[in-house]
Every structure is written in C-alpha cells, then in structure tokens.
C-alpha cells in the first residue's frame, strides 16, 4: 500500500514534463528537487541529530562554487569537478563537526551563521577565483541531448531520480544505528554517552552527511543553471532551508521532500498577487504550522511509514497487551 503511494507520487512527478511544456515551470520543479536534497541533508544534522545549522546555503555554495571553479579554471569535465566538490564539502563537514563538539545549542547556530557570512565574504572578495560579486560566468552547461530540447527538460528526470535516491538513502541512514545514535544524542546526550555512543564521532558523522547532501545539491544547481553568484548562498537562503525543514517536519526525512516542494513552489505560485504575495506566503506557512504542528511529515509518514524505524511486532500484538496488565509479570523468570 505504502509502496503504491510512493510510486504514484514519484510517477506523477515523472510525467509532469509530458503535460507541462512551460520551461519556467520545469525550472521551478528542478529547483524543488535540488532543494529537497539540501533540506534532507539539513534534516540529518538539525532534525535528527539536533545540531542547529544556519549555514546550509554556504555548504551548498561550496559544492556549487567548487564545481564551477574547477570546470572554468581547471577545465575539468563536470563529473570530475563534481566528485572533487563533494570531497571538499565532506572535508568542510568534518571541520564543522569538530567545531560542534565544543559548541552547543544557540552558540552553534550563531557559529554556523558566521560560517555562512565568511563564505559570502570570500566569494565576494576573492575575485580572481570566484568571479567576485557579479558571480562566476562561463561555466559549461551540462547537456543530455537524448532527454529533451532544453536544459530544464534534459535534467528534469535525472534530478527527480537523484532527489528520490538521496531521500531514500537518508531514510536508510535514519533507520540505521547511525540514525539511532543521532536521535539519542539529540534526545539526551548524557544517556547516549553512558550507553557507549561516542557523541563526538556521531556529531562529526551528522555534519559530514549534512554537508555531503548540501554539496550534492550545489553541484546539481551549478550544472543546471551554469552560473553561481554570492547572492545564491546568503544567510537568508539558509533560513529558507530551515523553513522548508520545519514546514516538512523536524526529523521526518520524507517530510523534508514535501517541505522543499511547498516552499519552493508557493512563492512562484503566489507571484501573480504582486505586493500581497509575501503576506500570502507568510499566512500560508502559519496555516500549515497551525493545521499540522509536526509539519507535513503528518502526510509524508503515511506514505513512507512513521519516521521511527521498522516495527518488530504487528500492530495487533501491541494492542492486545496493555502495559499495566503485563507489567505485573516483571522479572518473573
């Protein structure tokens, strides 16, 4: 049943290019898929491991800029530049993770915010490498001629597939022992350490996954639009990813996908309202949060199952054994 739901959802997205021929609409959908990858990664660190990251746009920017710079300045093919960019993103993740083991809570949020601003200042000022405030131009666009006439059509299915794959892989991490360790340090770090979880290692793992996913989103972004500028990766972009995460539901991996879908499309859909659109956008977000306090995960979990990992017992077994009754047998051999 759940499989059918997921197949219908992804199948529906896959046939969009057959129905919609408007290149701009397809471009927005491509941005949805890229944002979904970035938000799913953010969820692993912030929603699942409880480490507040306000610099996700910078992590994405590192992937995007590294790819662009390597393609333009070193003339590397897109796949080589992309792989190197992912390696660089992961290294930055290790560094941020090491920082997060010493800084907690709001202080970590401020630190990642500072990280985002440092990244912006570097991209603005290191003109020789990054192209400066006006951005890096001359990046060769990725072309897959067999898949359609224009770039947004060509990359639509690959990006849909990539975002579905990355969501699936993140769900797998969530349900693995690493996901359990992340949630354990989020819920109670002292208890996690007492049960043998090395919280330093777990935080670094969470940050590496977070920046790998963000870096991949950045690589996909630069291959799609063939242009990067400092304005694409500002703090307000990081906050937009956080909004997607919260609308999707903190800690719910499939929810993040829906959050990216809604928050990417909503402003474009409301654009026609001109000066009222920001107002409508804000009201829309508030209504979603009032109707679904846990975000869109309330819907997403129906398709993919509760974001808690596999249940070992069938539901009726749990229902027929009320805790208070069986509890009396505690300890009897």
């Amino acid at each position: 049943m759940r499989r059918i739901g997921i197949c219908v959802f992804l199948g529906g997205l896959a046939v969009v290019p057959l129905v919609v021929h408007n290149a701009f609409y397809l471009h927005v959908m491509n941005l949805v898929f890229i944002n979904a990858i970035v938000v799913v990664g953010l969820n692993l660190a912030t929603g699942v491991a409880g480490q507040i990251v306000l610099g996700q746009a910078a992590l994405m920017g590192i992937g995007a800029y590294a790819t662009g710079v390597l393609m333009v300045r070193a003339a590397l093919p897109w796949y080589a530049a992309g792989l190197l960019a992912l390696a660089l993103s992961s290294l930055v993740g290790i560094g941020l993770g090491a920082v997060s083991t010493r800084i907690k809570g709001h202080y970590l949020a401020i630190t990642t915010l500072g990280f985002n601003e440092i990244f912006r200042l570097i991209t603005v000022n290191e003109t020789a490498v990054t192209g400066g405030p006006s951005g890096l131009t001359g990046i060769p666009q990725l072309r897959l001629p067999g898949l359609g006439l224009h770039p947004d059509l060509q990359l639509y299915l690959p990006l849909l597939g990539l975002s579905a794959l990355m969501t699936f892989l993140a769900l797998r991490v969530f349900r693995s022992r690493f996901g359990r360790n992340f949630r354990a340090i989020r819920d109670n770090e002292v208890a996690a350490e007492a049960m043998g979880v090395n919280s330093r290692a777990a935080k670094i793992q969470a940050f590496v996954l977070c920046s790998f996913w963000a870096g991949l989103g950045g690589v996909a972004y630069v291959l799609l639009v063939a242009f990067v500028a400092p304005n694409n990766f500002t703090i307000s972009e990081s906050i937009r990813y956080l909004v997607m995460l919260i609308i999707g539901g903190l800690g719910s991996i499939p929810g993040s996908f829906l959050g990216a879908l809604v928050i990417t499309i909503l402003p474009e859909a409301l654009r026609a309202w001109e000066q009222y659109y920001l107002f409508a956008y804000a009201v829309g977000i508030i209504v979603v949060l009032l109707a679904f306090p846990r975000g869109l995960s309330a819907i997403a979990d129906r398709f993919v199952g509760p974001s808690m990992g596999p249940h070992p017992l069938p539901a009726q077994d749990l229902a027929t054994l009320p805790g208070s009754k069986t509890e009396k047998t505690l300890g009897t051999p």
Binding site: N181, R186, A192, A194, E327, T329, G331
Partner: protein, 268 residues
C-alpha cells in the same frame, strides 16, 4: 582484587562537597547497596564511576584499569552499565531502538556501509535487533518493543532502562533508584529481576531509599552521609549501627499492639 575500587574520591560543586574522600570496593558477584539521606553523594558516586562527572581528587579502578579520566562512552564499553535516577530514555525512539543503541559497541560497519547497505551492515543490524528483543523479553518488556519511550508509563520506562543497560553486556551494573515511584508489587518484581541479573554473573550496585528492598536483596550495604562513608557491612549489622540510625534510618519505633520493633522507618 575488587571489581571496582574507588579511592579517596572528592567531588565539589562550588561550595558543596558532594563526595568527601570516599573509599569503596565493589566485590565481583555481589549485590552492594548504597544508601544514605538525600544529598549524601550517592548519585554523584555513580556519576563519577561512569565518567559523567570528573572527580576533583581520587581515583576509580575497574578491573585494574584507571577509569576516572575516561569519557563516559569508553567506560560503558569497558563493562559498566547504569540506569539513571530520573527517566533518561530517548523519548523519540521506540523501546526496541532504545535498547539497540546500546549494541553500538558491538558494531563495526561505517556510515558509508550503512548508506549502501552492505551485507556486513545488515548482519550487524539484524543481530542488534535480535539481541535487543531477547533482552526486552528477559526483563518482561517485549510487548513494549514498538512503543515510543515518550509514551510509556514510569514503571515501563524503568524496565526498558534496565534492558538498555543490560544490552551493553556489562560486568557491573549501577542502579540509581530502580524502584523509585513503583507500586509495591512492582518493587518486589524489580527485586526479583535484580537477583536474576546477579544470577547471570553481573555485579550490581543499587542506590535505593526503599530500605526493605535494599536489606532484602543486598549482600553488603554501604552508607553515605554528607559525602562520607559512615558504615559498611552486612544488612543486619547496618540496621543496628547507631551512626546509620542517627543519620538516616531513625530509631526503631514500636507501635501499640506490636511486639517487635520495626527495622528502620516504615514505608521507606
């Protein structure tokens, strides 16, 4: 050689001296009770032995290894499990997942192996799940496996906490008030469970205010008062110790119509 040796432990919190030169040995295979009034340093002792707080002075040796400088997660892997005084389960995880986290020390697969789901990774996950289920069954909490810890009653979460500590396969189990807040029949059941645990070769230290339970199951009892050890010995001897009666137990009281004086303060 004792399983755990604490020597001259001092722990100060600002102006409060929680531990004031405590020496305590835990012998292999025993159930040792640690009692004393609130604020006497019992929980601090457990926290120092598990690396949650570092002592200002003194040392703790476990099986001949100094552990007073080790981080908490390493100590748990050396073989010391614990339960906390307050409910410290992870509310967002199911009971089964809570117990599975403790199998961390028995897994080797990397994050990358988890992402691509290698055979080794799946094998480790399966054996962690099987072992966790087994332990939940042993403590009588198998029916809770799929329930989120945040949705459990107090008694149920105590049971799962014990299961979570047992999943570490510890040599030594430190229980901080395992019976606090439990109904009387559940206290007896908890006592039976602790005996079963010792029967499996696990040494137990139990901090508890329910004197009847402590005197019933412990081989030896140590008493802390104001951060100092004031007595140590078999339960019968401790109950008669004037210093312990003065500091903690109170005078035996004789109610009208009763011939025998009660041991300790009733209801404690």
């Amino acid at each position: 050689m004792a399983l755990l040796e604490a020597r001259g432990l001092v722990k100060r919190f600002g102006g409060v001296t929680a531990l004031d030169g405590v020496d305590l040995d835990i012998q292999s295979g025993e159930i040792l009770g640690l009692i004393g009034p609130n604020g006497s340093g019992k929980t601090t002792f457990i926290n120092v032995c598990t690396g949650v707080t570092a002592p200002n002075q003194g040392s703790v040796w476990f099986q001949g290894t100094p552990i007073h400088d080790c981080p908490s997660w390493q100590i748990s892997r050396l073989g010391i499990g614990r339960i906390f005084q307050t409910n410290m389960l992870w509310p967002g995880l199911t009971a089964l997942e809570n117990v599975m986290v403790s199998r961390e020390a028995f897994s080797r697969a990397s994050v990358l192996e988890a992402v691509v789901s290698t055979r080794r990774f799946r094998g480790e996950e399966d054996s962690a799940r099987r072992k966790a289920m087994e332990i939940l069954e042993e403590v009588g909490a198998a029916h809770l496996a799929g329930r989120r810890a945040g949705e459990m009653s107090y008694g149920q979460s105590k049971l799962v906490e014990v299961a979570r500590a047992l999943a570490l396969e510890p040599r030594l189990l430190l229980l901080d008030e395992p019976a606090a807040g439990l109904r009387s029949e559940l206290i007896e059941a908890m006592g039976a469970l602790i005996r079963t645990i010792r029967g499996r070769g696990i040494t137990v230290l139990i901090v508890e205010h329910r004197i009847k339970l402590v005197m019933g199951i412990c081989d030896r009892v140590a008493v802390l008062n104001l951060g100092q050890k004031i007595a140590e010995g078999p339960p019968a001897q401790i109950q008669m110790d004037p210093a312990v009666i003065d500091a903690y137990l109170g005078e035996p009281i004789v109610l009208p119509g009763e011939e025998q004086p009660r041991a300790g303060v009733s209801g404690r």
